[in-house]
């Protein structure tokens, strides 16, 4: 879909859909939203709906950062301590590496 050809109202509703969809534990929707609407929100000359698009993009970006932070922390902790946790570590793993603790 080419964003250029869309009327402004539809841009806004699309942006809102992506923003709301991200709450269903789908941070990638927020990522898409941020990348896709960045120009619309911050680069394009102002128009009525831009203010709302701006807030959605900002919030999506914030949510995305939160996700990234949380996931990075968890992955670091998990990778570091999986072997130490022993049984718990094994049950939390989806694939258990062969030949290393």
């Amino acid at each position: 879909m080419n964003l250029e050809r869309l009327p402004n109202e539809e841009k806004l509703s699309l942006c809102r859909k992506y923003y709301l969809g991200g709450f269903a534990f789908l941070p990638f929707l927020w990522l898409v939203n941020v990348v896709w609407f960045f120009r619309e929100a911050f680069v394009k000359p102002a128009y009525t709906e831009q203010l709302q698009i701006k807030t959605y993009v900002k919030r999506s970006a914030f949510g995305l950062l939160l996700w990234v932070a949380v996931l990075t922390t968890w992955i670091t902790i998990f990778q570091h301590f999986r072997a130490e946790w022993g049984e718990v570590g094994d049950y939390l793993s989806f694939t258990i590496p062969l030949g290393i603790p």
């Binding site: 022993g86 094994d90 793993s93 989806f94 694939t95 258990i96 062969l98 030949g99 290393i100 603790p101």
Partner: protein, 703 residues
């Protein structure tokens, strides 16, 4: 290049269609694969992992043939091209060198040991000094004075290497063409002259032995059970196999538990052995001498027990996995305690175990007994009677039996597991008074050569099979004595003793089959035809292996030996024989007997083997540690918890490695060519209009 390309494509096509993948002439130019590679593999128990491990893609190291221990600092500090893959002559495969390599392991990629064709003069035992230290009867609870081999260190030559963990692969190579190639490659490329570093390209080796399991048995058994991942695969399997047993009188095996009228004497021997490496465990003195004597004794007793049956039953048992914390005997005792075996412990009258008996000095045998249980007077009386019986049995024979010091505990033996359950009278027959006389206990050198089993060079395979060696004669004496002792211990009449004699011809055949090769004319006769493929041209490997649907090589061999030696030929059709019955109305016999249809021999003027049915009381019983099967206690201190890791590839190859500089040069030239051609093409294509303008239109490169 066209030529080469065509050749290769054609090669590849042919390979893909007719041979399969993995045939490539470029690869052949680079790598030489080693044909005979025996790895050291990872084993785990409740607390530890032992053995060796390579990385998933194999460990690569520059070859270094170690000449002496002083030479080690080239590998550990001085050499400029680490990591090194150390080639050791067998004489240098010692604890001190191996531990130095282990500690310098960031400079050691692996070790390959060249197994010699003849045994070394030095003693070598990679086993511990106190075999099965914690699972025998001598625990702190039983008697603190005897715990941890406090009184006798049984295997003082043991260096414990087989119980170390190495984080690099260790392979054994046979001293043949492969090792010649390796040595030549080392001499051509890697030899250090006057301490200066050798020039690239260097000869290197890659060893693959990546093990899936890690840490301990509890961890790997847990990971076996977790299978919600994409590709669930097991990582380890418990060690175990089957015990082989037979009785002098048929016992109903379907009815488990106590049998009122039975009173059995257990005649035991152990079946397995091990060495540092995975599939070389010849175990000649450690186990073969003992169980061959017992097999010959069982054969000697066949007629006597049928013609004049003594009032007690003799139970010939061959325990598997004894090397690994008494897997077989602990399982049998567990089954007896839980009414899972044909008899229970109340039925057991006494135990007579045959241990290592191949290396007698002055034809002496030593009768070991347990000083702790003999403090009980009734047990002591029974043990004394048993000793007397053995002394009676040794009369007229070239064997003298002696008792070691009264305070000396039992050597490592299956009998210990019975004592652990309850004080049962029993004796362990060994050829050593105190510490083992075996200089190669549980090592790859404990082979036919060590027992002095050799044949005149002009004999054919069949003649060798029949050639009676001195060792066979000596073991026959032991077997006769054991047979006679068992007969009177079972309540038989002393007057019949002279008629009970073991056959030297049989003993020598068994030794040949087990220690030289099992694929011989005699063994072919005594097995069913469907098992012909299990006979091998090599000495039998007595490593117990993992418990699976097929019994291991030694179990299989002993099962058929025992069946033929104690069983009788019955006139039963092939079909009935294979259905375990005398005739088609017979529903009872299979509780008592085991029938097998063996190939038989080819008659002198015939071409077809004359097969027949053998009926025996031979049975297999599970030899899987109770820690795994019913209990699932993977941290048990009572039972064996040994598991063997799984692996995917075991292989080794040698090749040359180029210097880092040459590799970087190649990359640099490549990047240079790419950048130059990008620039040039850009220039040409941007000016193509001018360059190719004489014609009507631009051609070669437009824009």
């Amino acid at each position: 290049m066209d030529l080469l390309s065509n050749k290769w494509i054609v090669n590849v096509l042919i390979c893909c269609f007719f041979i399969g993948v993995g045939c490539n002439s470029v690869e052949k130019k680079i790598y030489v694969h080693l044909n005979y590679t025996v790895p050291c593999v990872r084993l785990l128990n409740a607390t530890h992992q032992i053995g060796c491990q390579s990385s998933l893609s194999g460990n690569v190291g520059v070859l270094h043939v170690l000449e002496s221990e002083d030479n080690l600092d080239w590998v550990l500090s001085k050499g400029p091209n680490p990591p090194y893959l150390v080639i050791l002559e067998a004489a240098l495969f010692t604890r001190s060198i191996m531990m130095k390599l282990k500690n310098g392991s960031n400079r050691v990629a692996g070790v390959a040991v060249v197994a010699p064709n003849t045994n070394p003069t030095e003693p070598f035992s990679p086993y511990t000094t106190c075999p099965n230290e914690n699972t025998g009867v001598y625990t702190e609870k039983y008697d603190p004075a005897y715990a941890h081999c406090n009184v006798t260190v049984w295997n003082p030559l043991g260096n414990g290497l087989a119980y170390e963990e190495f984080d690099f692969p260790i392979f054994s190579l046979k001293d043949d063409n492969d090792t010649q190639v390796i040595r030549q490659c080392f001499l051509d490329h890697n030899q250090v002259v006057n301490g200066s570093a050798p020039q690239y390209p260097l000869c290197a080796m890659q060893l693959y032995s990546h093990m899936s399991a890690v840490t301990d048995t509890a961890t790997c058994m847990r990971r076996n059970d977790i299978n919600f991942s994409i590709s669930p695969e097991g990582v380890c399997d418990p060690l175990g196999d089957s015990n082989v047993w037979a009785s002098s009188r048929p016992i109903n095996t379907t009815q488990k538990g106590h049998k009122n009228s039975e009173n059995v004497i257990i005649a035991a021997a152990r079946l397995d052995s091990r060495s540092f490496f995975f599939d070389i465990a010849p175990g000649a003195q450690s186990s073969v001498t003992g169980f061959v004597s017992l097999l010959a004794a069982a054969h000697a007793l066949r007629n006597a027990t049928q013609e004049a049956p003594p009032n007690r039953t003799i139970l010939y048992t061959f325990f598997q996995g004894e090397t690994f914390d008494y897997i077989g005997s602990s399982r049998m005792v567990y089954d007896m305690e839980n009414n899972q075996f044909a008899v229970d412990l109340d039925n057991v009258h006494s135990v007579l175990e045959v241990g290592q008996v191949g290396l007698r000095s002055d034809s002496q045998l030593w009768l070991h007994s347990d000083p702790v249980s003999r403090r009980n007077s009734s047990v002591n009386d029974e043990v004394r009677k048993l000793i007397e019986n053995l002394q009676v049995a040794s009369k007229d024979l070239n064997v003298t039996v002696n008792q070691p010091q009264a305070s000396q505990p039992l050597p490592p033996s299956s009998f210990q597991r019975f004592l652990r359950a309850r004080p049962i009278p029993g004796i362990v027959i060994e050829d050593h008074q105190s510490v083992f006389t075996n200089r190669y206990y549980e090592s790859m050198y404990d082979n036919a050569e060590y027992l002095n089993i050799s044949y005149p060079s002009n004999l054919t395979a069949d003649e060798q099979l029949e050639h009676i060696t001195e060792t066979a004669t000596a073991l026959t004496e032991v077997a006769t004595m054991v047979a006679r002792a068992l007969y009177i211990q079972a309540g038989g009449e002393e007057s019949r003793l002279p008629s009970i004699t073991a056959e030297a011809r049989l003993v020598t055949r068994m030794l040949y089959s087990l220690l030289i090769k099992s694929n011989n004319s005699w063994f072919q006769e005594i097995i069913p035809s469907e098992f012909m493929s299990r006979l091998t041209e090599k000495p039998t490997n007595f490593y117990v292996g993992v418990a699976n649907w097929q019994s291991s090589e030694p179990t299989f061999l002993v099962q058929y030996l025992l069946a033929n030696l104690t069983g009788t030929v019955v006139n039963v059709t092939k079909e009935d024989c294979q259905h375990q019955r005398e005739d088609d109305k017979d529903k009872e016999s299979h509780h008592l007997y085991h029938y097998m249809w063996v190939q038989g021999s080819v008659p002198p003027n015939g071409t077809q083997r004359e097969s027949f049915c053998v009926r025996s009381t031979v049975h297999l019983s599970k030899a899987l540690s109770p820690a795994f099967d019913p209990l699932k206690e993977y941290t048990s201190t009572e039972y064996s918890t040994w598991t063997e890791s799984r692996w995917k590839t075991i292989k080794g190859r040698i090749f040359l490695v180029a210097s880092h500089e040459l590799e970087m040069l190649t990359l640099g030239v490549g990047v240079g060519v790419l950048v130059t051609s990008l620039l040039l093409t850009y220039l040409i294509s941007s000016k193509a209009d001018i360059l190719f303008s004489s014609g009507r239109e631009p051609t070669n490169a437009t824009y």
